[in-house]
Chain length 329, copies 2
């Protein structure tokens, strides 16, 4: 089959589009013929971290397609069924948090290929209202956003949430989901285009990350901040968060360390809440939530499989609003 | 009346034992004739922070005594009733967290005096099973420990809690309360005497804060860490905390800033939870909890009111296990 394979050279220069053998489903597994896939920043981190001596790896965590073959011990899935793939392997129940969940596309072979073989518990019926491309880009970022907002952030109708750095997949799903439950949503971005887009979706305030946040938010305050940036913006959160507010963290795009003023945590009784990916339970809940609110992913651009390397170059530029997709014929 | 008054000179050298006028209760207030009071580290911070030009202040947050006079609008309290004072002013309901709660003994006059005048909503019947001295040292640290453990930390029976730096009031109440609900409790201290004392109360592991924590805790892991130390110990927490674990912070004895490795928060889904003092609701619940479990404060030493300055010198040395009390005749 055709696939986007990463050799043991760090970064994008390790990528090739090539023929590679398919893997038949083992016990409890299914093989899926992919129709669409999606990019995540995680793919870039995985490629950066790979070293000499490691086996070739098919990149990609997100995908959707048709079941091509089922392994022994799989009784509830039939060949030809349309499915969407949950990339978090081995995390069934929400309350049983694994230390670091295993993810499709590193360590195990991913979705930028004609076929992928996964545990049967990791496929869910594709909602009919979504196109293949929408289903293909959705899994990891929508799951992360759903868990961050609701399981971990406990967002309620009428609360005010700030999403710094609108643009990437998780942030845009979080914006759509928060608006869907009747929260007030504010965003930051250095890009005027992205700020305007967020306002058109219904954001309350959209301001430049380099501005004075307290002024930009009209002296309003927020209940919940969804942080994926880290050190570059973290200090500003304490200027605008309410007492008892929550900061849910799922990323660290500006650095690995944050300095926290301890008294700004314990006097106003702030909660800093780490989150990452989500469980199978949450994956199913997330799809039901999206369908109930008729939410569609925001798709930035779709590339054919053989042009995946160009798709990654677009992601590296950081200009996209929403997900970058891959079409697999 | 006699009182321990702090003039506008920073630190302990601003303290004097002197005669000062009493204050009659205003609308909704009661005047309490104090029988006992207790020291908190907070008193030291308040005295350090006071500047030239500020009015003299009676120090002290903790106290218990008899109602001497009631103001207008107070119907549920009678003269002569034995009461324990809740030092958190203006925080009735647990879910309504004020930004920074007001506390007796700075900004308003405190308990190191023959009399104190407080809102009637801030006195609760003194549990009969406690001596005056036990009731006098209990309020602020037991309230802080109760909220930190149960409201904020959601400690459950069978969970493993670590209390770094056993010795001070909050930490010792937290140890007793956690043991009372059937949690496994471990502690750290640089003092062999304090470690031995903690083991005699039922602690599982008691180890030197300067040791390798992972080895010292027998490769066990913890669900909850009650942090009042901050930067000196914070990094070690990530070596021994379980995925989804909670770090409840109520103090910063080793510095104002902590550096946090972001990935150690979001991958294992750690929660960092600020807490401070507690509500009137929690104060009442805490007293009921203490009585139900027959918990008595651990009292380090009791001084007469006129020797309060010596009591503070003992606190500064840091040798105490439990609370330092003041007897007021």
């Amino acid at each position: 089959m055709k696939a986007i394979v990463h050799a043991n050279i760090s970064g994008l220069k390790g990528l090739t589009y090539e023929d590679i053998s398919e893997r038949a489903p083992g016990y409890g597994e299914v093989k899926v013929k992919l129709k669409a896939a999606g990019l995540n920043h995680r793919d870039l981190f995985i490629m950066e971290d790979r070293n000499e001596g490691e086996s070739p790896l098919i990149i990609g965590s997100d995908g959707a397609g048709r079941i091509e073959a089922v392994g022994e011990g799989v009784f509830n899935l039939t060949i030809g069924a349309n499915v969407i793939i949950n990339p978090c392997i081995g995390w069934e129940m929400t309350h049983e948090v694994p230390s670091v969940p295993a993810i499709l596309g590193g360590p195990s072979d991913g979705t930028f290929a004609e076929y992928v073989t996964v545990p049967a518990t990791n496929v869910v019926s594709k909602p009919a209202y979504l196109s293949w491309e929408e289903a293909g880009v959705l899994p990891l970022s929508a799951l992360t956003a759903y868990r961050a907002l609701f399981t971990r952030g406990r967002l309620q109708q009428g609360e005010h949430i700030l999403i710094p750095g609108i643009g990437g997949g998780v942030a845009t799903y979080a914006m759509l989901m928060a608006l869907a439950v009747g929260a007030k949503v504010s965003v930051t971005s250095r890009s005027e285009t992205k700020r305007q887009a967020a306002l058109s979706y219904g954001a309350e305030y959209a301001f430049d990350s380099h501005s004075n946040w307290k002024d930009s938010i009209g002296d309003d305050t927020v209940d919940l901040i969804l942080d994926s940036i880290g050190p570059a913006t973290f200090r500003q959160y304490f200027d605008i968060i309410k007492p008892n507010g929550r900061i849910v963290m799922f990323g660290a795009s500006s650095g690995d360390q944050i300095e926290i003023p301890i008294r700004d945590i314990f006097f106003p009784q702030i909660n800093i809440i780490g989150t990452s990916m989500g469980s199978s339970e949450e994956f199913t809940e997330m799809l039901q939530f999206m369908e109930r609110h008729s939410l569609h992913p925001i798709i930035d651009k779709v590339y054919p499989l053989q042009d995946t390397i160009q798709a990654f170059h677009r992601m590296k530029l950081g200009d996209q609003l929403g997900n970058i997709g891959i079409r697999i014929d």
